[in-house]
């Protein structure tokens, strides 16, 4: 069992779990139960994570009430709970997936957040926050330039005064750090 706890073994196990996840997704997508795909996949993801962790626990030192005990208890409960939820889903006894809304807009929002995360480390917190807030407000169909400028710079001024100056939180300065 310890073979799957690390290195290549763990990689193989991860790929197997990934395949199981994709397999379940496809199986639901192309069957009469396609309206339950999302319902089925949420527990499957959690179960896959639990099983991934299970493999790792075999690497822990074995002792009475050791480090593997409680994680395995949760993993066992998760797997059994997922199977029960899955059973209900297959029988169509849970709610159907909600109608897809503007998924594209959400994805765009997530992309913006990720870009903001990296921008903070490159451009520094202050500059990237102005840009992020302005773009997000524009995306939420705010078309008042004055309001956009006011809110984004206002927020940055607030965070500078309160967080940086008053509370000594070392907000990232990005590449400006060398010049300040």
């Amino acid at each position: 069992m310890q073979y799957f706890s690390q290195g290549i073994g763990l990689a193989i196990w991860t790929l197997l779990l990934l395949a199981g996840f994709i397999g379940t997704g496809l199986a639901f997508r192309f069957s009469s139960k396609r309206e339950w795909t999302g319902q089925a996949l949420v527990p499957v993801v959690i179960m896959a994570l639990a099983l991934l962790f299970l493999a790792v626990t075999f690497d822990f030192p074995g002792e009475q009430a050791g480090p593997a005990l409680i994680p395995r208890l949760w993993i066992f409960s998760i797997v059994s709970m997922c199977l029960v939820v899955h059973f209900f889903t297959v029988r169509g006894r849970t709610d159907k997936d909600p109608k897809a809304g503007r998924i594209g807009f959400v994805l765009l929002g997530i992309v913006c957040m990720v870009a903001y995360y990296f921008a903070i480390q490159i451009l520094g917190y202050f500059l990237s926050s102005v840009i992020f807030l302005a773009i997000m407000m524009y995306m939420f169909s705010c078309r008042k330039p004055l309001l956009i400028v006011f809110v984004s710079t206002g927020w940055v001024a607030f965070s500078y005064l309160v967080f940086y100056k008053l509370l000594y939180i070392q907000l990232q300065l990005g590449f400006f750090e060398n010049y300040l």
């Binding site: 822990f60 030192p61 002792e63 000594y168 070392q170």
Partner: protein, 319 residues
């Protein structure tokens, strides 16, 4: 015209650059960051702030204490190592950081660190609850033998300073007991106060202000002063090999800081070390003020690494 202004700009920049370079020979020319590996209010944070308060008597430099908490000090040490060694950042460290460096796989190169000075030594202490029937060293030994390995010792996580001290004590005294780890000293002391364990392993400092607790033995060569004057050392109790079990506190920087910065720190550490108020502060906390330079400090680090490595391997924490 445009080209002219650019040339002017470059010239201006160069002027500023030479100017700052000229000023830079005088260290320090800007505020110095003292990195602390806990959040404000942690024990080492208090230590660092005391240090800066007393250091202010000997230098005009401004110190800013910066808290970089996480992973028992790994985050703070990695931060120091990731920065330019310009001398404007140094960090407060304790022995438990070495344990973390070893237990997390040793991807921190201790040779890349300038172990500038070790300033405080806290002897390890065997602490008991005054209100329990077992509270002196002799009683502990007798109780342990009577319980046959079922005596409970409480303290922080397995594989740390205090656990290692406990294991050494058991070996030296020829007794057996069980280590019950808690997340942190506070909770372990609560367990001792509640009578859930017989012994807590910590430092004399832990007893101050808690009249129910008492130090049954200390692992130092000589007795401490003040309120600890009547606490016996291990050798007085006839236990051999536990004369110098310590938890140290000191300061580090990245290797390669400018020579004038290094000289500045060494000078400052020495001055603070001989300050009467600093001595009083350290001794009041049941510790000893010392001054070990980079060479001695590095040797201590190597010895600690070997010890932690050996114990953590035995416990199965590292491979």
């Amino acid at each position: 015209m445009k080209r002219n202004s650019i040339t002017l700009l470059i010239a201006a920049f160069m002027l500023i650059a030479t100017f700052t370079a000229a000023v830079a020979t005088e260290f320090p020319s800007k505020p110095i960051k003292l990195i602390v590996y806990t959040k404000p209010g942690g024990a080492i944070d208090v230590f660092a702030r005391k240090f800066t308060a007393i250091a202010a008597r000997y230098t005009d430099a401004t110190f800013v204490v910066v808290n970089k908490s996480g992973a028992g000090g790994i985050v703070a040490i990695k931060y120091i190592l990731s920065q330019k060694p310009d001398g404007y950042k140094f960090a407060a460290v304790t022995r438990s950081n070495i344990g973390k460096i070893v237990s997390t796989g040793g991807n921190i190169d201790t040779n890349a660190i300038n172990w500038m000075g070790l300033m405080v030594v806290d002897p390890e202490a065997i602490i008991t609850n005054r209100n329990q029937s077992v509270n002196t060293w002799e009683q502990i030994v007798a109780d342990a033998k009577a319980k046959g390995g079922k005596q409970l010792w409480v303290g922080p996580a397995a594989g740390g300073n205090d656990h290692i001290m406990a294991m050494k004590t058991w070996k030296a005294a020829g007794i057996q007991a069980r280590w019950i780890p808690y997340s942190g000293g506070g909770k372990s002391m609560a367990a001792l106060l509640g009578g859930h364990g017989v012994v807590y392993v910590g430092n004399p400092q832990d007893v101050i202000g808690r009249p129910d607790l008492k130090v049954a033995a200390i692992a130092s060569e000589k007795r401490l002063g003040g309120q600890f004057a009547d606490v016996p050392t291990f050798s007085e109790l006839g236990v051999k090999g536990l004369d110098n079990e310590i938890m140290w506190r000191g300061f580090m920087a990245k290797k390669g800081i400018p020579a004038e910065a290094e000289a500045f720190y060494i000078d400052l550490l020495k001055k603070v070390n001989s300050d009467p108020d600093w001595k009083a502060y350290v001794e009041k906390g049941g510790a000893n003020p010392v001054m070990k330079d980079a060479e001695e400090f590095s040797a201590i680090i190597e010895a600690d690494k070997t010890e932690f490595g050996k114990v953590l391997k035995e416990l199965g924490v590292i491979k």
